[in-house]
């Protein structure tokens, strides 16, 4: 077992087989730097719990194909990314820091899928972005490719 410590001083025990999906921790273990508790100063306990949940579920990724658990895993992934923007970004940050490639992929793709068909206004509102372009600048961008701004697929809702 490997012990991880979040930045709010909570400790979590994780099986080595699960935790080595993180390249960073895998390297630490290989280099013999993971003898006691591994402190993770960038990750809070709430996010770390999510990440560990993912690691535990994906522990036997290779076996999933053999045992027909692929669908199960897919369903888990779909449920997993069903979270608010802030939480999602926290997990992405953690996945990036811990270097967990699959998790990074999953979360970034989920974010992209949510944004894909959104209108500019909806994106700004969802991500709390202040528009700092002038009206002229904005119009110029629209004129460059007006077709990208119109069409029935464009979604102006913010959920």
């Amino acid at each position: 077992m490997v012990k991880l410590k979040s930045n709010d001083d909570k400790e979590f025990e994780v099986e080595e087989a699960a935790v080595i999906q993180s390249e960073m921790i895998k390297n630490m273990i290989e280099d013999g730097c993971a003898t006691s508790v591994i402190p993770l100063p960038n990750i809070d306990s709430k996010t770390l719990i999510k990440v560990i949940e993912y690691l535990n579920k994906h522990i036997n990724m290779g076996k999933a194909a053999e045992t027909g658990e692929e669908d199960d895993l897919k369903e888990f992934d779909e449920q997993f990314v069903n979270m608010g923007w802030e939480e999602l970004f926290d997990v992405i940050m953690a996945a990036n820091y811990l270097n967990i490639h699959e998790l990074m992929e999953l979360c970034c793709q989920s974010a992209a899928d949510r944004l894909k068909n959104k209108s500019v206004r909806a994106v700004r509102e969802m991500l709390k972005i202040t528009n700092d372009l002038t009206e002229e600048e904005e119009q110029e961008i629209i004129n460059d490719a007006p077709w990208a701004f119109e069409g029935p697929e464009i979604d102006d809702t913010v959920n």
Binding site: G84, C108, I129, L133, D144, A148
Partner: protein, 247 residues
């Protein structure tokens, strides 16, 4: 969502934004340039452009090559767009997986066809992996010019025999125009298309500074129903992009 992010952008680092935008299709990116200055600068940056093209999940390549203007088996005229951008932004996977021996650098690929530039002669050919037939497009590339080219070819192009065999008139590429970064205003229509039984109308409706839109109105096979499709063209990353949009 908790209250801690109410007043600021929750995208904590460029790295994350970068990674998310990479996965978006070109159309979304063109729109999201309008979100704020920061997004605009990022989407326009050369490092992003290159990474985006390479990325597997954003359908960037589909936008370029999804050019079928009629249902399979009934295509008569197709518009083909390809790019002469630097080799490094042709997706390596496709190069590696599909390039038949003796050819290099497919410039465009469709479901089952690709155009390869033959290095030595800079001759353009169409290669069909299924039949392994090679068709000469009768056009020499000027390799000193970088930019996008657009031309039409007929589905019935016969396979090339060898060497200097002359092409029948029907098999010749009818008109080729070369685009630089900005489509010249004075080239209208930019594409000319032969009339045929099924294709009643195909021309550019509008030519503006750097985008084109045209409508294709096609009479259905039964001669009655009209099938309307909109072809949308846009320039991004130096590519001329063609999309076929269903009504």
């Amino acid at each position: 969502m908790s209250t801690s992010m109410d007043d600021h952008c929750p995208l904590p680092e460029d790295l994350i934004l970068f990674n998310i935008l990479l996965r978006l299709p070109v159309e979304s990116l063109l729109r999201f340039k309008c979100v704020c200055k920061h997004w605009y600068a990022l989407i326009k940056s050369p490092s992003f452009i290159e990474k985006h093209f390479h990325h597997k999940n954003n359908h960037a390549s589909l936008l370029i090559c999804n050019l079928e203007v009629a249902p399979k088996g009934h295509s008569i005229v197709k518009s083909v767009v390809f790019s002469l951008l630097p080799k490094k932004i042709i997706p390596e996977k496709i190069l590696w997986r599909r390039c038949p021996p003796g050819f290099v650098e497919p410039c465009i690929w469709e479901d089952d066809k690709m155009i390869f530039e033959i290095t030595k002669t800079s001759q353009l050919v169409l290669y069909e992996p299924t039949t392994k037939q090679v068709t000469d497009l009768g056009f020499q590339l000027d390799l000193s010019i970088t930019g996008c080219w657009v031309f039409n070819y007929k589905e019935s192009l016969s396979p090339i025999k060898r060497g200097n065999d002359s092409q029948g008139k029907d098999n010749a590429v009818e008109k080729i125009e070369h685009f630089f970064d900005v489509i010249p205003m004075d080239l209208n229509p930019l594409l000319t298309v032969r009339k045929s039984q099924r294709m009643s109308f195909l021309r550019f409706m509008d030519v503006e500074k750097n985008y084109l839109e045209k409508r294709l109105i096609k009479t259905g096979i039964d001669g009655e129903s009209e099938m309307r499709k909109t072809l949308k063209f846009g320039l991004i990353h130096g590519f001329l992009i063609c999309m076929v949009l269903n009504p």
